[in-house]
């Protein structure tokens, strides 16, 4: 294991050459170079940190298998010149031992991208050059003011290279970062949370985040007990992202076609074309969205209901999943698109924007317009209870507030909810403008989201949670 480390481009070219020499009909090689740096704090002090570098190589080979084509997939980290040969041979042997792949299609053709020859981009602890001192200052302030701060900052850069025997040579570097911070008062009886996504930490001010936490903890000066039940409830963009990300993940075309999701039609087929909401709701993905950039081509290391290893490199285009309240598209590979009878594949894309036509205003504006109800900060531990309705359960967390006559007048106990995001899209009465939104529960994994605040007239709080 002390062989020569290859560059990503050399790994791909040598891998493709080895596959051809060993008799593979086709080959795709994906190389992902990652670096990340993080800081974590609790009880007003740093707890852990890390600077990590990673490298992974995935070799996908295809061979003839009877009247079809079979695929073999092998993934490895720490690949050297010596081990690459073993990986390619293993991928070919795996393909030869497999039967015809149901999703087999010709490999995606393409040319060499303009940035193909560039080295991987990297991050390091240097990304926190301004952030870390300001964080230190906010921790000191919290100590002086008898508050406690807990949080995490993470920055990662992934540079992905994709090459294939069909001529594809693609490279894309994607940065991703976020901060999530929780504040508690001295006796830990109340808490508040703020979070935000970033690409480079240049736009993140720990002192401003701390000021917002302090403002929210101030709302807890008055505490009010509210019973479970259905309440008029304002969901800020972060909470909407908590729920809509789950909906987004349920847009699998094949599962819907086979009658296993909320997007399945009774009696067979999908609900494509059905009206999900009477409101002009749109759910859209676009890899080129400014600030929410995602990979511009399909990346699949395994095949599944809506993805295929044969589709690697497929150009991703802006896709409407829901348009004017109507279910417009489901996630499909080329194979799944054929199976369910839609004209073209619409693969998963790593971002989404939920919007409501003509909606304007902020969460504060929605608060100002509400006579009596609740304001949720974020949701947590969201899990599916019933796939038929996409009923989700979960809890409120770190800040539920009472709204009276257009103002936040106190902090409220936490609740367990049972709600379906599909139903919420049909039931909300007021929406605000769409803004970048960082989901509390899913943001560490899926942070490229933009959502509006929503007012739901009858959000189902199933029971009270004692957690504070």
């Amino acid at each position: 294991m002390t062989g020569i480390q290859l560059t990503p481009q050399d790994t791909i070219e040598r891998g493709l050459a080895l596959a051809a020499a060993e008799g593979a009909d086709g080959c795709v090689v994906l190389v992902a170079e990652t670096s990340s740096a993080n800081l974590r704090w609790a009880n007003n002090t740093l707890t852990t940190n890390g600077a990590m570098r990673g490298s992974s190589v995935t070799v996908i080979t295809t061979v003839g298998a009877g009247e079809g084509t079979a695929a073999g997939v092998i993934g490895r980290s720490s690949v050297t010149e010596d081990t690459l040969r073993e990986i390619v041979a293993a991928a070919i042997a795996t393909a030869r031992a497999a039967g015809p792949a149901e999703d087999a299609r010709p490999l995606v053709e393409g040319t060499t991208g303009a940035d193909w020859a560039l080295e991987p981009e990297e991050t390091s602890v240097g990304v926190y050059e301004k952030f870390a001192p300001a964080l230190g200052e906010s921790l000191r302030r919290a100590t002086q003011q008898d508050r406690r701060l807990y949080g995490f900052a993470d920055h990662e850069v992934v540079t992905l290279y994709v090459g294939s025997s069909a001529g594809l040579r693609l490279r894309q570097a994607l940065p991703r970062g976020y901060v999530s911070s929780t504040g508690k008062n001295a006796d830990l009886s109340h808490s508040a949370w703020v979070g935000t996504a970033t690409r480079d930490f240049a736009d993140v001010d720990p002192l401003a985040l701390d000021a917002e936490l302090t403002r929210r903890l101030g709302w807890a000066t008055r505490t009010v007990s509210v019973d479970a039940g259905r309440h008029p409830t304002i969901l800020p963009p972060a909470a909407v992202a908590d729920l809509m990300t789950y909906l987004f993940w349920q847009l699998d075309g094949r599962d819907a076609f086979e009658g296993q999701t909320v997007f399945s039609k009774s009696g067979g087929g999908t609900r494509l074309g059905d009206t999900l909401s009477p409101q002009p709701v749109n759910l859209r993905s676009d890899p080129s969205l400014s600030g929410l950039e995602a990979f511009a081509f399909a990346v699949a290391r395994t095949s599944g209901g809506s993805s295929s290893v044969f589709d690697n490199g497929l150009t991703l285009a802006a896709t409407d999943w829901i348009r004017s309240g109507k279910l417009e598209s489901l996630m499909t590979s080329r194979h799944t698109a054929d199976l369910i009878g839609v004209p073209a594949a619409t693969p998963n894309i790593g971002n989404y924007v939920l919007s409501v036509d003509a909606a304007t205003g902020t969460t504060d504006d929605l608060v100002a317009g509400l006579g009596n109800g609740l304001l949720l900060t974020c949701l947590w531990y969201i899990r599916m209870v019933d796939p038929q309705t996409l009923l989700l359960t979960g809890l409120t967390r770190d800040g539920v507030y009472l709204v009276e006559n257009g103002e936040v007048t106190g902090a409220v106990n936490n609740f367990r909810f049972n709600e379906s995001p599909v139903d919420l899209l049909a039931r909300f009465t007021t929406a605000g403008a769409t803004v970048p939104a960082f989901s509390r529960e899913w943001g560490d994994y899926f942070s490229r989201t933009a959502t509006p605040p929503l007012l739901v007239p009858d959000f189902n709080m199933s029971s009270v949670s004692q957690a504070s």
Binding site: G54, I74, A132, Q260, N418, A467
Partner: protein, 503 residues
């Protein structure tokens, strides 16, 4: 006992460790530890008896963690060269130096005996990676076919995950070990689709610290379960919807393990109780001041933490801080009596905990992550001469018997939880009376465990578990087993999930 994989032993583990630890010493650390890890993982998925995907992955890398000037520093890399080991050590020290200004608590570790170049291998018979892929796919195709040909089964999905983990650990105190573990997680589900609704029924076989023999009948009776799943599914499709209300429930270990995981396992992690997970997974109602006094549940409740249980997913010879595996009490006679801790928390809280030693709960899910306090196998002990599941059911006049896990959720202090399951049998006058559907149970942790009237005997005991318990920032995935018997609970709130959805 299988041997440690020769290919892993051939890696320059000692050479890399010595280089990294020496560089760390030269840079003035108080303590440093080195890990070299190779994690092989394979996932095989079939949809309707057709191979959908099969992927063979290997993650190999090295990591160095140091205590420098009282502050943690951690770094990881992938190239297995002396230069890289030295670079990673330097980067770990650099991380500590950068972090020092925002660290208010000097790090100290509990003492642990030195283990000099020891080895440990988990209990399994057949390395899953030694079985030809075609043989594995053929078996899973057979299992799929058995379900697919049954009346009322529209689709079948199969997924099997296997992991082969090798680790070399060395620290500046002189401990070094080489450890190998194998785990396997099958998921086999039959789906039914009717005109107005659909549903599914999954195997209750939990993931296990076993090899491929698990899929061929050692530790689980596949022939029996696969033969019965279509009938159970058909009955569930035709079952009446439950009336929401309060019921006595008998919970099968195939379901209860997950309730234990969420409401006891995570709640007795001391890092949570002290606030170190407050921004992510949350804290715990079982705070340190309640040790020895908190009435966690009824007097029949005895829960242990265990890093030594055979076939346990969290079972190790040594943890990721060089601490030997142990077993201890968490809840005894219904009272909170212990926590899960790592070396730092053990040292910092030794006066309250009453012991100066870590109980070995440090774990990192790969070389790319820092060790954190993770869950031991947390298990509810059976009553030595306790009743059978049938005897527990016979004590219920109007209730529900819950089998298999499905949906789960609990709040960030581990009070309020809600679970569903695979099968819910109505109990009428002490006997099973057909299935119900749309069932979820919801409770507060101490109320629920306080309502536990009886636990079953050893004949009802089963190891459940999960491969993918999430914790920490950056997120890490842990595998953990929970053993438990069947148990009887009185007056539990049952929800109707269709009504909860407003239908």
């Amino acid at each position: 006992m299988p041997d440690i994989d020769e290919a892993f032993l051939d890696l320059p583990r000692r050479e890399l460790a010595e280089a990294a630890l020496q560089r760390a010493r030269d840079l003035g650390v108080v303590f440093a530890e080195f890990r070299l890890e190779r994690i092989r993982s394979e996932s095989i998925s079939l949809r309707d008896s057709v191979l959908e995907s099969a992927k063979d992955d290997e993650d190999l890398g090295l990591a160095v963690r140091v205590i420098h000037d009282g502050t943690w520093g951690f770094a990881a890399g992938v190239a297995l060269t002396v230069d890289e080991a030295v670079r990673v050590a330097e980067q770990a020290v650099n991380m500590a130096q950068v972090s020092r200004p925002i660290n208010a608590e000097p790090i100290e570790l509990a003492d642990e005996p030195v283990y000099d170049d020891v080895t440990w291998v988990s209990a399994y018979e057949i390395d899953p990676f030694s079985v030809p892929r075609a043989e594995k796919v053929a078996l899973l195709t057979d299992y799929s076919d058995r379900l697919l040909k049954a009346d009322g089964v529209a689709h079948v999905s199969v997924h099997v995950a296997t992991v082969h983990e090798c680790k070399y650990y060395a620290n500046t105190a002189g401990t070094s070990y080489t450890q190998q573990r194998v785990r396997i997680g099958p998921d086999i589900t039959a789906h039914a689709v009717a005109e107005d609704r659909f549903d599914s029924m999954s195997s209750c076989a939990p993931p296990a610290g076993r090899g491929w023999e698990y899929l061929t009948g050692t530790g689980w009776n596949w022939d029996d379960e696969l033969a019965r799943i279509p009938g159970w599914l058909a009955e569930k499709m035709a079952a009446p919807s439950v009336d929401a209300g309060t019921y006595d429930v008998v919970v099968d270990p195939t379901n209860l393990w997950l309730t234990i995981h969420e409401s006891i396992g995570h709640a007795t992690e001391l890092d949570r109780a002290l606030g170190y997970e407050a921004n992510y997974a949350g804290t715990s109602f079982a705070t340190l001041d309640k040790l020895g006094t908190l009435e966690y549940g009824s007097p029949v409740m005895h829960v242990t933490g265990d890093r030594t249980a055979e076939h346990g997913l969290s079972t190790v010879g040594y943890d990721d801080e060089g601490v030997a595996g142990q077993q201890w009490d968490l809840v005894k006679d219904g009272v909170l009596v212990g926590y899960q801790v790592d070396r730092r928390m053990a040292k910092k809280n030794e006066d309250v905990l009453g012991t100066p030693r870590s109980n070995g709960c440090a774990y990192a899910d790969s070389s790319g992550h820092i060790p954190i306090q993770r869950m031991a196998n947390v298990s509810l002990q059976p009553a030595p001469d306790g009743p059978s599941t049938e005897e527990l059911i016979s004590r219920v006049k109007n209730g529900i018997y819950i089998v298999g896990d499905k949906s789960w959720s609990i709040d960030m202090q581990r009070y309020n939880f809600q679970f569903t399951g695979q099968r819910f049998f109505k109990i009428t006058d002490g006997k099973l009376d057909g299935q119900l559907r749309d069932v979820a149970y919801q409770a507060t942790t101490t109320d629920f465990w306080g309502s536990m009237e009886a636990v079953g005997g050893p004949q009802t005991y089963l190891l459940g578990g999960a491969l993918n318990c999430g914790k920490a920032e950056p997120a890490q995935s842990g595998a953990v087993t929970h053993g438990c018997p069947s148990a009887l609970f009185r007056n539990v709130r049952i929800l109707n999930t269709t009504q909860e959805a407003g239908r």
